[in-house]
Amino acid sequence: MNLGRAKLILIIAFAGLNLFLAYHLFWPDFGRLTRVAISAEDLNNLENMLEDNNYRLQTTLDRSVRTANFLTVSTSLKFQRSLILQMLQDGAEFSYTEDGTFYRKKDRTVMIQSTGLIKVLFTPPQILGQSSGEVEQNNLNYAAEQFLINQSLKPEGLTYNYTEENESGEQVVNYYQVIDELPVYAGSLKVYVTAGSVQAVEIYWLDHVEGSPTREMEVITAMEAIKNLIRDLGPAPEERIITEVKLGHFSMEYNAEKWEIPPVWRIVLQNGQIYYINAFTGNFELKNVIPEQLN
């Protein structure tokens, strides 16, 4: 047999084999691209359920089939180190107490707790923007972010979340963290602003670290998450408006070496209440699940 013909036969055979392998490898994903997780009928049912329980949806739902994985994180040593280094270079003094480690210099004190929470207190408060006085609500987020950049306090993946007024009348600009293009609501940064000046910045930032082998799985749909929320909260006495349903990662803060964060559907109501529904189990993420010692 001539060599050219043999090569041609092998090319055809391997091309066939490759097609066969590619079909088995990628077909579920090809299907997933075109698959819709929430059908029109499902949407109708959801609308009925919302109406029956006095809820209203004021946002669009992600109708595609989504997969997600646990995200393994630890408290951000990278950010902590850069902050400490900067403080020490500026001649800060440090001390230890039960509450944490303190780094003090003329205009600020940085406290790092064992849980990884970082508090930066400014004395005197630092003016936000160009001049003192009230910063317009619309500009507060922009001004706060610029402030963080100027003070070298802006960690990677910072994304604006919302602004609220706390009990002391302070404006609190809230940010969350984005890792691998997905929101990680466990990581947060808060800027406390009073009369146009920043009093303090609170940072709880996370590093993505290597974890256990991948367990990428299909998550429940946004519709299932809303249904679970309604089942758990029950009918609303006054209309509740759902303004956001978004996939991300969330967990409580742990004083741990490293931990896995599950994917969640974050459901935000117009009154500011936020609920996290585990996107694998459909359960609420509760606060006190870590076992306490029995006596």
Partner: protein
Amino acid sequence: MVEKIKSVVLAILVFSSLFLTYQLWYSKQPAELIVEDTYERVIMEPPRPLDEVFFPSLLTIATEDGWIIPDRENSGFKAIWEVVRNSIATLEKDPQNIAAVIAEGEKLAVLYFKPLLPAGQDYNWTINYPSLRISQIFIQRHENQLWMVAIAANEEAIYARELQADMANPLEGTIAVLKDSQAVTYFQLSEDLFYLSGEASVVIQDPIFLPTEPLIMTRLALKPETYNRDQLLKTFFVDYSLARIIEEKDGGLIYTDGEKGLRLTSSSIEYSNPRLEQTLVNIEYYDALVNCNNYISYHGGWLPGLRLETLEMTGWNQAGAYAGQWRMYFSGYPLFTSIPTKVILNDRGMVHFSRSLYHIDESIQLDNTLVETANWLEALEKAVVLLDEERAGLRSYLRVEAMRPAYAAVNIGQSIIAEPVWFIQVNGKRFFLKADSLAQIKEGELM
């Protein structure tokens, strides 16, 4: 030229087929393959019948010099309990002459029940009366007849019967054998037996039996129980692939699915399911006992020497819940650990569970293993002094709730040992005093 292109294409196809084969073999699996369908209940061992695991907490045999307290493993103990258990069903409520039997009779043996012995229509130890919880059963001789008398904890009545010869004879024979044994005798502690400096007013809460002479106890090397982690996880989570892992700084591992949490350390298991805490329905005592028995089997099983020590209603964070606690016993002495082996349950299920159990490690040889216990009164005095140091003024009214020789699990160097101690509970405060030197072992030092 064409041949060269063919060679290149062929090479690309060969390599791509190898790559695709590798991907297909090792790459991510679909969720339905990762998530196991494990909806059947996974357990560590089948629950044992209550008859096999429920025993009197204490058996005392009367002698001229005091009381003999046989260990639960003693064949005489088992024989007496078997006769008594088989007779409970035939007890009569307030029979004639019972007052005379109690007042004039000679007490031969007493069985104490903590947790209380359930009896009633639906129970293993059937009795033709409504649900009872028995706290004590006496074996009493009156006018040459043997009587069995049960004291109920939840009603005023007395249940008793005169035993026929077929039961009375073996019972009397076993009691006589135990009485003649060379075992250590004990006395029952009472307020008039001792005087504490400082003119304290003393109340003895439960029957407390103390040895009349020093005991020789053995210091033991311990090792934590081991278990199949994969199987254990399946007993708590229907599908633990949905649970995430938190690695604690001290090496502990927490598994949680957002609703339930399980902490595993090298020597303990702690679990909580706070969603089940709220309930409006009280669980029945017998159901609590059965469920308790099930849970210890499901989540680790029984170890030799493990005993259910208490089962009581708890006000812990909620109404309608029972707390059950187990303890390991070595040579008849209880072992105290930092984390109790305990369950809190209600009608909705298991709310909390913790387990910390040890085996004797025979591979480790300890020096100075034999320990002679110090005098009980010195131990009690020391506990009162420590209580006074902690909370001044409390010694003017002392409630002695428990006192006994016991073991405390402590860390010495790289080893965990069972240190012989005097365990004393006064006014709700627990003290562990080394049995020989009476040096205090603080709660925080327990393993």
